[in-house]
Amino acid sequence: MHIPDGFLDAKTIAVASVLSAAGIARALRNVRRTLTPRKVPLMGLASAFLFVAQMINFPVIGGTSGHLLGAVLAAILLGPDEAVLVMTVVLAVQAFLFADGGVLALGANLFNMAIVAPLAGYAVYRLAARPARTEAGRLAAVALAAWSSTVLAAAACAGELSLAGAVAWPLAFPAMTVLHMAVGLGEAIITVLVLAAAVKARPDLLPGFAARGREDGPRPIKDVLIYGGLVVAGAAVFVLPFASKLPDGLEAVALRLGFASRAAARPVVSAPLADYRVPGVGSLPLAAALAALLGAGLVFSLAFLIARRRLARVRGAERAAARKTESG
């Protein structure tokens, strides 16, 4: 999902950069307040870890493979503010030292993968884990959070591409979100498996997770407002203008303010696409949004059922082994 340079125009880069800078500044402030000296090497190594983990191939079909993004994994293991910083460092190092993701587009990539992905994902996790009383429920919450982080980041990415005039919204939004609903499944599975392996090896890593799943207290209201505000602002700029019937509203404003890119590049929304209607639902983007909601419900239920069955089997095996050693 790393947007390369050359796709986004100046105004999109500017807006996205301002939003991510604000989010990173807030995360820096929060982390600094609780910063102990040992946290810096911990976060540094976490960044190195994510960098390496993102390169692991998870075979899908033929020669293609899926990869972990790790935003929600980082948020759960280290904390949401820390995750913002860790993802920021990973993306920045990738962009400047390995040409992976654009350098000017970094602002947009940071917004999608270092702000939206970890924070929105973590919010989903906290909400979904609250009613959970079993380990299966908590793992399902993790799965849903990881899945959501991918889909939401993809939605923001689609919005940025559309705002920049690179890709038409009726194509970008459905294509990106539906594709990433599938990609998100991989993220969900990998995140749960990696988290489970880490907690199994070191239960002390997440003292609350194994027991209750509610390891921090409630987030301070200011954080919810600021982070939430940034994500909503992003939605307002990157998504809503297209979702509503005012696709030219922001463009008109941008033109007046002198931000607009060359007029020749403005996408004349291609007629066939704009008129395409999914029977019974409406436009493509609307259908995609509804599919996302359905998908979320499906992912959660599936994850819950699978987790419950697996955990029951694992516990059954453990009990059998314990009985054997007792009697043996």
Binding site: H2, I3, P4, D5, G6, F7, A10, L28, R32, L35, P37, R38, V40, P41, L42, M43, G44, L45, A46, S47, A48, F49, F51, V52, A53, F58, P59, L68, L85, V86, V89, V90, V93, A95, F96, L97, F98, A99, G102, V103, L104, V167, L171, A172, A175, I189, I190, L193, V194, L195, A197, A198, A201, R262, A264, A265, P267, V268, S270, L273
Partner: protein, 203 residues
């Protein structure tokens, strides 16, 4: 690992290598900004940018093999995203322009990485005033990516020599387990690094 070649190349000798990292990073940023602003149909501007880049490649003695190998990895993404642009009137021109812009920008960053050691780029950002938490994290990332990568490789090799059943589900599970253990080992190592830093006066 792909990092190896950039590391080795960046320690070479050439007129470009001798320039300060700050100058080179700034130049790349300016180049990318300029390319970003080129209107879609301005062919001459693209040609000029391409010529400038080619000059830098030659002066920096950047081997074509390095550029091609890395570009091969990154091009599919460029083509896929640009491909979406085709679905609109005038799409072909937009597609071509975006593909060219992206390739120019990616290549310029590759040239930077082949002529400037990572430490130099990091030092430049430190001087710019990027918060020290972030630059310290970035320095640790650059330093330990290889160490962790080696650990992961060793873990997976050990696992592979113990597995007899293949299959994707198993592959996913074993890869995830390896990643989980790598995380634990990374946190342990972070603790030891913290001790070593403290022992040398860090607070």
């Amino acid at each position: 690992m792909k990092h190896e070649s950039a590391d080795r190349l960046s320690r070479g000798e050439s007129p470009i290598h001798r320039l300060s990292p700050g100058l080179k990073t700034g130049a790349v940023l300016a180049f990318i900004l300029a390319v970003t602003l080129i209107p879609f149909r301005a062919g001459a501007a693209f040609a000029a940018a391409g010529a400038l880049l080619a000059g830098a490649i030659a002066a920096g003695r950047v081997p074509a093999s390095y550029l091609l190998k890395r570009a091969l990895l990154l091009e599919p993404v460029i083509v896929a995203v640009a491909g979406m642009a085709l679905f609109q009137p005038g799409g072909a021109a937009i597609f071509a322009a975006m593909a060219v812009k992206s390739t120019l920008c990616v290549t310029s960053v590759l040239v930077l990485s082949a002529t400037t050691p990572a430490a130099g780029v990091l030092a430049f950002f430190r001087r710019l005033g990027v918060p020290s938490i972030l630059t310290s994290m970035a320095a640790l990332t650059v330093r330990y990516v290889h160490v962790l990568g080696d650990e992961l490789r060793r873990m997976r090799r050990a696992r592979r020599s113990r597995t007899f059943r293949r299959g994707k589900a198993r592959a996913w599970r074993s890869a995830s387990a390896a990643a989980g253990h790598l995380f634990v080992r990374s946190t342990d190592r972070a603790e030891r690094i913290y001790r070593a830093m403290s022992a040398r006066g860090w607070r």
